[in-house]
Symmetry: C2
Subunit: 637 residues, 2 copies
């Protein structure tokens, strides 16, 4: 039985002092770390103190990095560089670190002659050997001459020295669009180090992209799984290490980032294991597999006493009816067809996201019906996501080992509850259920067939962590990110989808980033609001029913419909019907999309009703500015 | 006498609703505006209401924009586009707007055949003429086929129709590095519109750069003055209009942005006028010219009672002595050689920057000695910068028309005071001046010769406004911006310099952006601190004197000096002296830089001592992380 994959992380990936970083790295379960030179240079710890602290924490110092601008056409400079690197080898002796990262030079004075490079790296390898050190040579994507992993490997192969190997960094390879399949040609023992980084696709200079926008595997757009499979196939058995330069991580909570980082490696190992690689390499982590989900069926909204009535009133107007009240808490139960919404005004349970005013209505639970919640709980825990087993008071078997509900914390405010088959009945036993008034029952045919999507307002610092949770535990797939412009700011929005096999439900959750904003603005003007979109099969019928129930359509500018007409040439009867019901429209090559919005409720929450026609897979993002403008005006009046 | 240049601005440049934008545009003194279609589409105003409101405000509607994707290889689509544009002409009739902006198509279906383009734009010109409209054709920098102003002009020239002209946009031209001199070949009457935008140099995709990072002339890195001179030379007499897509402006205060916008055009006109263009075009704005400045000689620091003692203690330890106390206010006067610092604990005068905790020491005044402050006052007012005349109580001629001090508000917290020759004496008459203790006088030779630079902490939303003020009123020149990384975040930093002719002083002010940060961090960890750097001629002597006065050097990590040695190979005696005095070092091809820092005082302010050797023009930015780390540790102990 081979040893498990060793996990490592560069200190530059985390916020804080070197002392804080090491504590967080050890606590998150890493085996080792790379020390980023500027972190060491600014630290008051002597080399020996760092070595002792790492040993006390059970961490190995896997790499000292980076050593820059080694090769050069200037021979006098080259001599000085050898002296400089010798000083670093001496320092590494004190640190107890064996491997030095040397990256290709981006300077105009870099050597452009492979013969000279082989000579200079030969001298370096010889010097390293004298100091019992190893050099891992890495091609920077913006290197002046050497900027592909193939070229770096060619130099290493040419030098052919046991003290010189290559370092593979997924960012430098995938950001250039290079084919990583060629990695399989490199002998595993000549790969001295592996650095893993993901990143969102951004149309920008690679250097800036690399220095500010990297993130952990599973948070960006690269195919890290395929990349890691190539490396695994070589027999490489060194650490899988994360080197992430990210402006948000640099100011985020150190401990939380370290935990996310470790989770990203576990999920990556799981993905590689799922590809059934040849045996013989280090043992890969696996978690219990996903089981089917039946879609979002319930929500809990926390609203302070001052806002509770507004939420109730809006629920009633969109067609929910009050069905019960919790025996012990200030918790009211509303229902519409297959959907349940609980409105929670219990003191102490009203959450708000950091930076938002208190007492706003907040979506605190998203309930998804699952046939086997317990398997999801095991899967989440294996991936180091805190999961709570909830046994409901009215459960038919209170001593069962199978929990009624498994709860995962998604944000500080919101959890996802995976609800087992008996959970609805068990839960309702804690409620006084009202008799349904007959006339209400008659007039109120359910028009919503389910929940199309739930949008969560997410602060910038939580964004990547939530993304990773949804992608690792649920294996949701990200759509292309969107920047949505409104009249008072810009909002980053990202939809994630879980399309299940067979006739399983499609789950959609979208994230909206809460960013800095003009102070004193009403919340609706920030863009960072949460909303719930109900699915229906006939939006005009739904709108008519809602009007019967007291819902007044959001006034949409007549200019919008004139422009829609100019853009799509829709027939005038359809336009009139949309206009009178406040329905917005979009279409793409695959289908059409109709949607309408409520005003915001209590300042922060709203509902949407959507009808998808054909294969339209978007969210009507093009209408965001019109929607926000209309909500803003509705709030002002 | 010709008419003045007409000023205009696109509604997309400002935050808020269309109603708010129009009010701000009129109040800032613009003559007209461009309506950005999405602003109109989201507005509840009918076309006639917008027309009426603009007329009531005295604004002309100069341009409707943009009309996208007009030309196409798909003839059926082209027919639909003609219908779509006809609808817009009808709308423009109602709006009372004559000119439509049509931009080149970035789509793969764009026409790549100049013959076809000429035909399609010919049809468009004919249609425009039937509707008594004009079309201004603009080349987008990312157009699929037409992406240079020269190419767009070639199509316009080929069509040769009175209803078709070109629109020049400085961003689309300068972002590509195109030579704007060719503009002089275009007849002025065929330039139907002029859009002006500046932008910082950013290594990124042009489309993203354009959509998020444009700013007003004088806030970025383009040579807008040369650009505008070329346009002026053609005889163009239409509006000078600003079209700015900027994420920060989108959430900034609407009125303040509009005022900055108008100022940017006035300063641009002034720059064009200074180039002495041929007579005959519209009349260009000019302001009174700058007169010499003698450097920063005084500062006022506001500190709440809780922090006042810490500021006094630090001033004393770096070699200032207390020379007096204000008769009426809680204001103490400190002096060191040529420099004066007033510490103000008067209730109600303690300013803090938005988002910072109250009661931190804040730099509230920067005093610059000027021979003719009244001229600066006139210049500032002409450029629409609020300037206050201050006549000091002890002035020798209290009825003089020449103010002792002219005060310009730079940020919410800080003003620049231009102090006339008699102002120091006049001001001190309000103070009780203490007799100087003899032994203090003996031991305290002044070591600072002046102020090397002052750094201001600036919130993101004030950044561009302050930049414009310093560049327009003082004509300070920006250095290349820096992103400074520290252990807990990233700070944008920008230095501005005013190098005066002859033996005039060099004025240096640097701006540090206060950005979002991990909540609960001590202020020093945010990076956004203000500081004052004193200049000296011998930093080792200065450090020795400071230690005599009780200053304890900031402990710098020994690893820093080991690394410095490896990088620069300095002699060991020099290294030892730097180490023992906590002095940091940098060098470039032109010279050397030595500097040392105090800990932060009261959480937000610190002092620096610098010695420049040779022509070094930087600020030792490379040492920022080490400095911040050392200050952070000093704060924790």
């Amino acid at each position: 039985m081979s040893a498990p994959v060793r996990t490592s992380i560069a200190t530059v990936s985390l916020s804080g002092t070197l002392e804080e970083k090491l504590d967080a790295i050890a606590a998150a379960g890493f085996d080792g770390f790379e020390v980023f030179e500027p972190d060491f240079v600014a630290s008051p710890w002597s080399p020996k103190e760092l070595r002792t602290r790492a040993a006390d924490l059970g961490l190995t110092l896997d790499l000292y990095q980076p050593f820059r601008d080694f090769d050069t056409v200037d021979e006098a400079q080259f001599a000085r560089n050898l002296v400089r690197v010798q000083r670093k080898f001496e320092l590494m002796d004190q640190l107890g670190c064996e491997t030095l990262l040397v990256c290709s030079s981006p300077l105009p004075t870099a050597s452009h002659d492979d013969g000279q490079l082989t000579e200079q790296f030969g001298a370096l390898a010889e010097l390293a050997s004298e100091h019992r050190k190893k050099v891992a040579y890495e091609a920077l994507a913006w290197g002046a001459h050497v900027n592909t992993y193939g070229h770096a490997w060619q130099i290493v192969e040419g030098v052919d020295h046991p003290s010189l190997g290559t370092c593979l960094d997924s960012f430098h390879i995938l950001s250039r669009g290079d084919d990583p399949a060629g990695i399989r040609e490199i002998p595993g023992e000549k790969i001295f180090f592996l650095q893993l980084a993901d990143a969102p696709f951004l149309a920008m200079d690679i250097l800036q992209w690399s220095r500010h926008h990297r993130n952990f595997p599973g948070q960006g757009s690269f195919d890290l799984s395929a990349f890691a499979q190539h490396v695994y196939a070589t027999g490489y058995d060194g650490p899988w290490s994360l080197e992430i330069f990210n402006d948000v991580f640099r100011r985020a909570d150190t401990q939380r980032t370290a935990i996310d980082a470790h989770r990203s490696l576990l999920h990556l190992e799981e993905q590689v294991a799922a590809a059934n690689p040849a045996a013989g390499g280090p043992t890969l982590f696996t978690a219990p597999e996903r089981t089917p989900l039946e879609g979002i069926v319930s929500l809990r909204i926390a609203a302070g006493p001052a806002k509770q009535d507004q939420v109730h009133s809006m629920l009633s107007r969109v067609g929910f009816h009050l069905v019960g009240r919790h025996h012990d808490h200030d918790l009211q139960l509303w229902r519409h067809g297959p959907l349940t919404v609980a409105v929670d005004a219990t003191a102490g349970t009203v959450w708000t996201a950091p930076g938002l005013p208190a007492d706003l209505p907040v979506l605190t639970q998203i309930g998804i019906r699952a046939t086997e919640p317990e398997v999801w709980g095991e899967r989440a825990l294996a991936l180091e996501v805190p999961a709570t087993r909830v046994q409901l008071p009215g459960s038919s078997d209170e001593n069962s080992e199978v929990p009624d509900v498994v709860r995962l914390k998604v944000t500080d405010a919101t959890s996802i509850d995976l609800r087992g088959p008996g959970s609805a009945a068990a839960w309702e036993s804690a409620f006084e259920i009202y008799p349904l008034p007959a006339e209400r029952n008659r007039e109120q045919g359910a028009v919503f067939t389910g929940i199309d999507h739930v949008a969560l307002a997410v602060p910038a610092e939580s964004w990547d962590g939530i993304m990773l949770l949804l992608r690792s535990v649920f294996e949701m797939q990200p759509h292309e990110g969107q920047d949505v412009t409104d009249s008072v700011g810009l909002m980053r929005s990202q939809a994630l989808t879980l399309v299940q096999d067979g006739d399983g439900h499609t789950l959609r959750i979208s994230l909206n980033m809460v960013e800095g904003s003009r102070s004193g603005l009403p919340t609706v003007r920030r863009g960072g609001v949460s909303h719930v979109a109900f699915a229906c099969e006939n939006i005009f019928g739904a709108a008519a029913s809602m009007q019967d129930w007291g819902f007044a359509p959001l006034p949409i500018s007549p200019n919008y419909y004139d422009d829609l007409d100019a853009r799509f040439g829709l027939n005038s009867e359809l336009l009139d019907r949309m206009r009178s019901a406040g329905i917005l429209y979009d279409a793409d090559a695959r289908g059409e999309f109709f949607h309408l919005f409520t005003p915001t409720v209590g300042g922060d929450l709203f509902f949407e009703v959507v009808q998808r026609v054909g294969g339209y897979e978007g969210y009507g993002e093009v209408n965001s500015a019109v929607r926000l403008s209309a909500q803003l005006r509705a709030n002002q009046t």
